[in-house]
């Protein structure tokens, strides 16, 4: 019996939002919710190239709309924030990503992060003393060509009284002026993108689909290892610069939630997203995890929870050996989204504490059949879904190359099978 047809968009929105919220708070619901999180899958499904998906804001909305209306998820992730960055990145000469159709990269492949050292080992002191000054003068100029002249800006931490007035002279320098003008144009472009994203979110809300999360952030160790020191630097600093690394992690644990909370307030919803990169099994030892990764990351989680948010943490890779340690969070406040962790064991260890999300294997979504997918979903629903506290998804969302029939199988089977149990 399908009564959905008679319900208004706002009724369906409330019903879905409540189902997700109940699931996170570990209350059993009418059925297992299934969330739509993808990178390029919807665009590819609509026949767009990855390059088009990163440049055509409205085209991406069309592709997402089609996928959402077909799959009828309980919530969705707005892809624009992740994908629609092409024009702006091009305007500023952004260097941390290579993206399709740019710099010789094939128009049909995903954007890729450039793992490099963006902060030298001997710059920890600068960062710790005055992070904003370090960002303005050293870090930003390394991230994009347009930011290079920012190195000329006044050292604001030491500017006071009439020096505030004198320091204005740098803004008249031709290169600084040019940088600011480029940044204004890039800012206008970004506003256009955001306005498309916000209107798409509003439209989906009217049609009954809540946002899966309203902001995202990273673990302090990942910010160091991915975005500042590079993966090699991050790992070597555990030995070579241990104290400064730990001090920086504490500092980032203050900044990260602040930024997430202020962006989360712009959108409807209370779930925030944190994908993790370097804390998994195999990448660092349990002892290193407990020293360098977990304490500062837990601080981020607790700050977010205290501010009324529900963190959805994507534990990439396999984190099975961490389960006992990461259980130390308040019950019914977090979603742990697992990729290759043993979710059945995770249910045993964490089932009374966190809502589990995932984890139909990515390889199955790409190479398997709809029957394979249904079989795996059945097992997940029977075991991990037992008693509630489970959201269906693939390992890291729907992989770009997933077969459409497998994606449909995951959504349809989850809705039907879990409702009739």
């Amino acid at each position: 019996m399908n009564t959905d047809v008679e319900k208004s968009g706002s009724e369906r929105y409330q019903e879905r939002e409540q189902r997700i919220l109940d699931t996170i708070e570990l209350r059993e619901t009418d059925r297992v919710p299934v969330s739509f999180f993808n990178t390029f899958w919807a665009a590819k499904y609509a026949g767009m190239s990855c390059e088009q998906a990163m440049y055509d804001y409205k085209g991406l909305s069309d592709a997402m709309r089609r996928a959402i209306l077909e799959l009828e998820p309980d919530d969705f992730v707005c892809s624009h924030f992740m994908l629609s960055l092409g024009p702006t990145m091009e305007m500023i000469g952004y260097k941390q990503l290579q993206w399709p159709g740019h710099d010789g990269l094939n128009p049909d492949v995903s954007f890729q992060y450039m793992d490099r050292e963006y902060m030298a080992a001997n710059e920890y002191d600068d960062f710790l003393l005055d992070p904003t000054g370090f960002y303005l003068h050293k870090y930003l100029p390394r991230l994009a060509t347009a930011f290079e002249p920012l190195a000329n800006l006044p050292e604001y931490s030491s500017v006071y009284y009439t020096r505030v007035v004198h320091s204005l002279a740098v803004y008249a320098k031709p290169e600084v002026r040019e940088a600011l003008e480029t940044m204004i144009r890039a800012g206008e472009e970004m506003q256009q993108m955001l306005s498309e994203a916000f209107s798409f979110i509003e439209e989906m809300k009217e049609k009954g689909y809540p946002l899966a999360w309203v902001a995202s952030g990273h673990a302090p160790f990942d910010v160091i290892s991915d975005y500042l020191r590079g993966s090699k630097g991050g790992m070597l600093d555990m030995f070579r610069n241990k104290d400064k690394l730990l001090e920086s992690l504490d500092k980032l644990a203050e900044f990260i939630p602040k930024n997430m909370i202020s962006s989360a307030k712009k959108l409807p919803g209370k779930i925030v997203f944190i994908p993790l990169h370097w804390g998994l099994d195999g990448f660092m030892s349990p002892a290193q995890f407990e020293l360098f990764f977990w304490p500062s990351f837990r601080k981020v989680l607790i700050t977010l929870i205290d501010a009324g948010f529900y963190p959805c943490v994507l534990w990439e890779g396999d984190c099975t050996s961490r389960l006992e340690v990461i259980k130390d969070v308040p019950a019914g406040k977090c979603v742990y989204f697992f990729e290759r962790t043993d979710v059945f064991k995770a249910k045993e260890v964490l089932g009374d504490t966190v809502c589990i999300r995932g984890s139909v294997p990515v390889s199955l979504m790409i190479t398997g059949t709809p029957d394979d997918v249904r079989g795996y979903c059945r097992k997940l629903i029977d075991v991990v879904g037992k008693g509630g506290g489970f959201i269906m998804d693939s390992g890291v969302g729907i992989p770009d190359e997933a077969k459409p029939e497998n994606v449909r199988a995951m959504f349809e089977f989850t809705r039907e099978y879990s409702a009739n149990k």
């Binding site: 890729q112 450039m114 070597l236 030892s285 790409i366």
Partner: protein, 216 residues
């Protein structure tokens, strides 16, 4: 083994970077045979490899060990004269590449390092490597093993196409092919037609040792 030699092996294996470098440099200045010093490094790396396999060490230790070895190597290698240089016998050649479309190289580099340290000659073709380049390099280098790496899911198809192309050539028909990285699992191994997959750098070393009949 002399006291200092033992100490050097222990310093490297126990991740005491400063002490290891200081001692190695001191030994070289005192006239120790640079080839001996490099052999100590290898010995230490065997211990590191064992600790990695027994889950005592993880990537950060492999990374630091690599740093220690390259600092010691940079100092020792120029001191090696023709008379004491013997080309070390390698167990065989491994050709390694990140498949086309994928720009990731952290995993590939660690596998390369661990293979080299375990006595294999590695030809590293880099990232985003076109199929034709892999096929022609197999003809040029005649490797016993080909290792294909990829972090993104798009790599599944790149690996599958690359493996099909390798198998279609005379030289590549019998070459052993291993894959690894990111999402690779048994399903992906079957999908791509690879002979095996490895979950970490030591898996790659063990696969090569196994295939080439090298005693573990």
């Amino acid at each position: 083994m002399q006291e200092k030699s033992k100490q050097l092996v222990a310093n490297i294996a126990d991740m005491k970077e400063e002490e290891a470098i200081e001692l190695a440099f001191e030994m070289l200045e005192e006239g120790y045979d640079p080839i001996e010093i490099l052999n100590h490094c290898k010995e230490a790396m065997e211990i590191v490899g064992q600790r990695f396999e027994s889950n005592e060490y993880f990537l950060p230790e492999l990374m630091l060990a690599g740093e220690m070895l390259s600092q010691i190597g940079d100092k020792a290698k120029p001191l090696i004269t023709i008379s004491n240089a013997e080309e070390a016998e390698s167990h065989g050649t491994v050709l390694i590449a990140t498949v086309h479309g994928d720009l990731h190289d952290i995993g590939k580099n660690i596998v390369t390092f661990m293979l080299e340290i375990n006595g294999f000659k590695v030809v590293d073709l880099g990232i985003d490597v076109p199929i034709a380049k892999i096929v022609s390099s197999i003809e040029d280098h005649k490797p016993a093993v080909v290792g294909l790496s990829g972090f993104l899911t798009l790599a599944f198809d790149s690996m599958k196409e690359t493996i099909a192309a390798i198998r279609a050539t005379g030289q590549g028909k019998d070459v052993r092919i291993m894959i690894g990285g990111g999402q690779v699992d048994d399903t992906v191994k079957n999908y791509t037609g690879a002979d095996a997959y490895g979950g970490n750098a030591m898996d790659a070393v063990n696969l090569c040792k196994d295939w080439l009949g090298v005693a573990a």
